[in-house]
Symmetry: D2
């Protein structure tokens, strides 16, 4: 039970329910929390970096490729998110650890000195792939290819699973740990 | 002519064309620039702060009110944006200086030590109010009430006016100053 | 088992999962089906009818009120949807029968002579209300107030329940009846 | 001047300003008008028809290709829109006549017997292409390739040009003809 938690990191594959859980956390937590995430970073990129090569690319089979210029901007963004938290904002981060443990290590470095709750958001690949069809706005195949990959070697304080549990209930489980 | 510009701040009233200019800048500038703005901050807020009182409120006449908890998160966000730039990301900021010179002073403090281009985005109130109708997704009245207000006492390196000039041409004028 | 089905009507409360099921049906059915719905109708209204009184109003508690001018346009829209189906388009309709059996009767009249599959989309009020929080873009309270109301007196060919069944699986159940 | 106008058809290339003019018309006309358009039709298609071949395809250079199954659904949609108007709804249609005079002929047949105002929405190719960059959500090249094409052989009651006139002013010019 952390009393001065500053950052909640939600990591999970595409269509696992991270963003919905983030919205629920904002609704149920008594203090105001900002919600930022990888989707917001991608939206803020120039068109030249929303393509494979230097930027982030989404292949027809759902594979995501990441180039050096995207990586550099992502690193600066992580630094900025950490600075928001150090400046007093409580921050929920919603990310996809395409590099598994290596991604976590980069966040760990950026968030050094902050009180962080690491949350794994799991969802069975078959179910996440189905929800990808329901949403209809995501490259098909991402949910399946990321479902297990993003958790490899990652250490969590808490894991939730949206396969058979509603996102709001998952959020309440997380909120109970925020204190 | 700045050779190592790190931040471009676009300030203008609602429906003056700031976000469109930011997108054009991203398309025409040779280096990759991140684009962040006040709309993104509002999206990242919890529902409790998207209301008048503690948060940011949008009255039926277009007046925007800002409460203490919104102000605190906004301050942390500014600090984070500055940290992204210090970490190497070139950043376009798209904001509405509701406090005029006082808003600029807060950004100046946050961005201390960074090379900043201050750009005023003007649009005649009547024309901006018309574009608010065209968009159809904004509280009516904001364009008119903000058109002059947000520029009071603000010092710029450059001003553009979208009243009779296309946003892409305004962006090219700005880009010529980026070097 | 209908071999010449022309219209699939999905009726359910807000946040019951109708639109997601419609997207899944479009993905799994071998023939192309158009998907239209009450949300699209509301989007196509003038601002004057997106308000209580003459139009459709969304109260802070989730109650939806419907005025005479909205009702008239809705009737014309139903007629148009039926005409699309008679002209050869297969159509999935996603609606909220605020009037229960009376709403169905109006659709029945509009769709006279067409082969229709009537599908009830149920979701327990508590779960639908939670999903409303997850989405974050709907007036709170709608899910709860509509969950039972919209099914009163309505006769279905088939009912699905998204409370504990994924939308894609519900869609597959429906698709099996399309033949 | 028509006193019982039932349909306003706005035809223009991508990024010429049709949808904005439609929103303005809804705001300034005293009676309620529904607004429907080709973008709404594309949204209602199954994923299999949002691709070249049978459906509608958007090539990287902005060329739009239309296949037989899209064409068939579009025809049914036109029939449905006409039926809405015959059932009493005033309807603004926002379309892109990729086939020029042939497209108009198809609408003329569908709308037979209705009082229609045919409006050409022009915008110089260079300016429309710039606004495509401003929007940032359209396939680049569409504005340029469609600017002249869609007007070939089309007969109008009224033409407006958004190159140097605000959309709201164009809408007022049109509204003055609605009577």
């Amino acid at each position: 039970m952390t009393t001065h938690l500053q950052v909640i990191v939600l990591n999970g594959g595409s269509s696992s329910g991270k963003s919905g859980i983030a919205r629920c956390l904002q609704a149920v937590l008594p203090d105001p929390w900002l919600s930022v995430g990888i989707d917001g970073l991608v939206d803020s990129l120039p068109p030249s970096l929303k393509e494979p090569g230097d930027g982030i690319g989404f292949a027809p089979d759902g594979e995501v490729s990441v180039g050096p210029r995207f990586r550099a901007l992502e690193q600066a963004w992580m630094t900025g998110v950490a600075a928001m938290a150090r400046a007093g904002a409580r921050v929920i981060v919603d990310d996809v650890f395409l590099g598994g443990a290596a991604s976590q290590e980069r966040w760990r470095t950026a968030l050094a000195g902050l009180e962080v709750l690491w949350v794994g958001v799991r969802c069975e690949a078959r179910v996440a792939a189905g929800r990808e069809v329901v949403r209809g706005d995501r490259q098909r195949g991402m949910a399946e290819s990321q479902a297990a990959l993003v958790h490899q070697g990652v250490a969590y304080d808490l894991e939730v699973d949206t396969t058979r549990t509603e996102s709001l209930d998952c959020a309440r489980t997380i909120a109970a740990r925020v204190g």
